[in-house]
Every structure is written in structure tokens, then in C-alpha cells.
């Protein structure tokens, strides 16, 4: 059996499960997520100078509800 510092796979299980369920519940497939990301990026790009290659979105749970989070790094304007 593996020594104790290698184990603790429960945490991994919980984190993976949480993410899987968020996507299942919203019926948000990775493909749909990618499409949404692209659309959002295009809209933002119209108004702001977004570092497109670093733009990321993700879904997470905030207490009782879901939240879509976006990380939108902007290009330095100076």
C-alpha cells in the first residue's frame, strides 16, 4: 500500500465530482463552454483591449448558486 503522504485521494474525488456536477446540472458541455468563451471574448474585444490568449472563463459554485467567472486580463494601455 502507498504511504500516507501519497494518499488523500478523497479531496481529488470531491473536487472532480463538484466540477462534473456543475457542468452536468447546467448541461454545459466542454464544446458549448468553448463556444461561449469565444463569443464573450469577441464581445469584450469590441470595447476593450483584451489579452485574448489569457482570457479564461469557468463555472463554480458560490454558496447555493452557480456563478460564471471570467478572468479578463487587459493589455497595458500605456
Amino acid at each position: 500500500m502507498a504511504p500516507f503522504w501519497w494518499r488523500r485521494s478523497k479531496k481529488t474525488a470531491k473536487e472532480r465530482l463538484r466540477l462534473i456536477l456543475i457542468h452536468d446540472r447546467m448541461e454545459l458541455t466542454p464544446a458549448k463552454m468553448e463556444e461561449l468563451k469565444k463569443d464573450l471574448r469577441d464581445v469584450l474585444q469590441k470595447h476593450l483591449d483584451v489579452k485574448t490568449e489569457e482570457f479564461e472563463i469557468s463555472v463554480s459554485r458560490k454558496r447555493d448558486s452557480m456563478a460564471l467567472e471570467a478572468d479578463i486580463p487587459l493589455k497595458d494601455s500605456r
Binding site: P3, F4, S9, K10, K14, L17, L21
Partner: protein, 263 residues
């Protein structure tokens, strides 16, 4: 009027049939009249777990297709006469039953029995829909694994869409040694993730295999802790408020071994 409860899970192999057999037997021991309905058409198994496979003459499809009366198809348990089984057909498939027919059948059984436990097939297709159509309550069986919990979550949504609000969950095959060393999700983790009421927890137990080998549900063994877990579940179904079972105290030597990382 009796209560029809569907036992379901989404994922196969988590212990639905064993759970159905044991809760049914436990309710019968408590003096209730119980009928177990095997809704897994084509993959009949509840009869084997109950040890009643040699007594089958007619099955549920014969009943809905009117080749026999209900009482001709019902098999009396050899240990408790107030426990009966309505077996699934083995040579037909899920399309042999229509939702309307099942609904009427369950309604008829509710007039005769205190409890109707419906053992659902795995999956989310027609067989599952047939199994839930006549039920007033639902019990979801799952195990502490990512795949089983994921499917349970999906089933909760489908039950609610089918009008079965507030299903309760049984967490089967908990291994306290693995929970303790952080290699298995514990009860709190799973309840939090699923956001659902807990009906009971059942420890993982080799004796379940022995009891299935013999065709004797483990609740019949008064010394078994797993049997006790099922007896407690039956009492909760009856409305008793029981604390959760301690699934095994850790021995001192075990604890030391765990602390130094050799167990």
C-alpha cells in the same frame, strides 16, 4: 392505502436489488405487509437475492397482459408470509411494459399492502420510467465513488421532473478504514454535494456476498451490523428518527499504524 417506494440509482452494480430485498424483509419483520416488485424486465435478479427463484410460475408481464391474476403471480416468502415478490419477466425486454399498465398495477397493489418496493433497473430509459411511474417516494442507492454519485445526481433531477420530490439517499459500501485515511468520500461530503436527505448508510461487508450465495437477505442475521443498518433504514421509512450508525470503531493498534503511515 399503502405506499409505493421506488429503489433506484442510475448506475448499475451499486446494490439496488440487495437493498430492496433487505428493506423489504426488514419491514416484514416489523410486521408490515410488503410486496417487492422486480421492474428489471429481462434481467431478473430480485428472486435470486431472496432465494425464491424456484417458485416462479408467472411474472409481472403475465399479469399486465392478463394471462394470470396478480395473486397467482405473487410469491410468498418462505420465512415471512407477509412478504411477497412479484418477479420480473426474464425472456422479455423493457418494452413489454407500458407506463399506464404499471401505474394501474401499483395502484392495485397499494390497496392490498402497506408497502410496495419497486426495484428499478439501472439506466435512465424506459425501464427506469416504468419503475418510477406508480411510486409516491423514491430512494436512491449510491456508493462513495465519483461515477456513482454523478449518476445519483442525474437521477435526482429526473425524479423531480417525474414528480417525485425529495428523494432520499442510501450510501452503500462505506469503508470506514478508507474514509479515515482520506481515500474515500465521507457521508458529509456526499450529502453536501448532492444536497439531499440521507436515509441511511450501509458498511461494505463480505457477508453480503455470502448472503446472496445462500439467498438469505442479511437482515435475517440478527448479529450482522450490515443487517442492523438495513433494519435501521426500515425503521426510518416507518417514520422513526434514528441516529446514524457508527460504521466501526477503530482499534488502537490500527490507529497507531495509521498515524505512522503503515496502514
Amino acid at each position: 392505502m399503502g405506499k409505493a417506494i421506488v429503489i433506484t440509482s442510475g448506475k448499475g452494480g451499486v446494490g439496488k436489488t440487495t437493498t430492496t430485498a433487505n428493506i423489504g424483509m426488514a419491514l416484514a419483520i416489523l410486521g408490515r405487509s410488503v410486496v417487492l416488485v422486480d421492474a428489471d424486465i429481462g434481467l431478473r435478479n430480485l428472486d435470486v437475492v431472496m432465494g425464491l427463484e424456484n417458485r416462479i410460475v408467472y411474472d409481472v408481464v403475465d399479469v399486465v397482459e392478463e394471462r394470470c391474476r396478480i395473486d397467482q403471480a405473487l410469491i410468498k416468502d418462505k420465512r415471512h408470509r407477509n412478504l411477497l415478490l412479484l418477479p420480473a419477466a426474464q425472456t422479455r425486454d423493457k418494452s413489454a411494459l407500458k407506463q399506464e399498465q404499471v401505474k394501474d398495477l401499483i395502484q392495485e397493489l397499494r390497496e392490498e399492502f402497506d408497502y410496495i418496493l419497486i426495484d428499478s433497473p439501472a439506466g435512465i430509459e424506459q425501464g427506469f420510467k416504468n419503475a418510477i411511474v406508480g411510486a409516491q417516494e423514491a430512494v436512491i442507492v449510491t456508493t462513495p465513488e465519483v461515477s456513482a454519485v454523478r449518476d445519483a445526481d442525474r437521477i435526482i433531477g429526473m425524479l423531480e421532473a417525474g414528480g417525485l420530490k425529495d428523494p432520499r439517499v442510501i450510501i452503500n459500501r462505506i469503508r470506514q478504514d478508507m474514509v479515515r485515511r482520506g481515500d474515500m468520500m465521507d457521508i458529509d461530503d456526499m450529502i453536501e454535494i448532492l444536497a439531499i436527505d440521507l436515509l441511511g448508510i450501509v458498511p461494505d461487508d463480505e457477508d453480503i456476498i455470502v448472503s446472496t450465495n445462500k439467498g438469505e437477505p442479511i437482515v435475517l442475521n440478527s448479529k450482522s451490523r450490515t443487517g442492523e443498518a438495513f433494519r435501521n433504514i426500515a425503521r426510518r421509512i416507518e417514520g422513526e428518527d434514528l441516529p446514524l450508525m457508527n460504521t466501526g470503531r477503530e482499534k488502537f493498534v490500527q490507529r497507531i499504524k495509521r498515524m505512522i503511515g503503515i496502514s
